[in-house]
């Protein structure tokens, strides 16, 4: 594996994913939570590309391309929802919208 052994990439991907998960669980600003989800997408894409290199197939590249597409779509919808919530409530905290009512 170029650069470092494959376990280095796998551990890096696991740590990045867990940092993103911790961001979603601990932070309560909706924007930062969305960015933490993007961190998790990136970790997953790194894992797919690592195994694509390991087995020498392009399928992992196609899947990580799909990850970027899904990440972009999710960011668009998530940001639209955040803008809507801010318009109605002026909330900076996800605890303020726990009732899920307009």
């Amino acid at each position: 594996m170029p650069g470092m052994p494959i376990h280095g990439y796998l551990v890096l991907s696991a740590i990045l994913f867990v940092i993103g998960l911790a961001g979603v669980l601990v932070r309560r600003s909706p924007l930062v939570m969305l960015m933490s989800i993007e961190l998790m997408w990136g970790a997953a894409a790194l894992l797919f590309l690592t195994f694509a290199r390991q087995w020498g197939t392009m399928a992992g590249h196609v899947f990580s391309f799909l990850i970027i597409v899904v990440g972009a779509a999710e960011a668009a919808i998530g940001l639209a929802l955040i803008v809507l919530i801010f318009r109605t409530r002026d909330a900076a905290d996800v605890d303020d919208v726990r009732a899920l009512r307009g």
């Binding site: 170029p2 740590i15 998960l21 933490s36 391309f65 109605t88």
Partner: protein, 168 residues
Amino acid sequence: MNWVVLVAAALALVSAVTVVRARIPVHSVLALVLNLISLAALFIALDAEFMGLVQVIVYAGAVMVMFLFVVSLLGARREAIEREMSLLPGQEGLGALAALLLLAALLLAVLRQAYPAPAALFAGFGTVRAFGAALFYEHVLVLQFAALLLMVAVVGVVVLIARRDQGR
């Protein structure tokens, strides 16, 4: 060991921690851009040239500009005020504990597995040509679903934003 890969990996880790820890959302966005660019460097090190370039152009470029736009639209000053105490008692401790447990499980699963030496690559692995051949010859359905998903996302955003304005 290649020092470029090690530096990119260290930068990815530091910037990921900064995304989660930063109090001001603009700092989070900038740290996320750094994270995505160092991931792109790792992608290129893994012989995924095209994916590295897409990561920089689409993700670090377009998507992050969208994030910055929303952050400045909502007002960076007001958004920085996150409530000090969570309504859920012990949220931070429990969240960190759950994340650490998952990390332990992942590391256990990853480090116990041994892998053979990486497979030999065919000529042009990871280039635009190989990627296009894989996408258009072998995985056409993925391409169709990606197009459908983007379409649904665009329509969804328009519906979400437009519905508010009709009521006024």
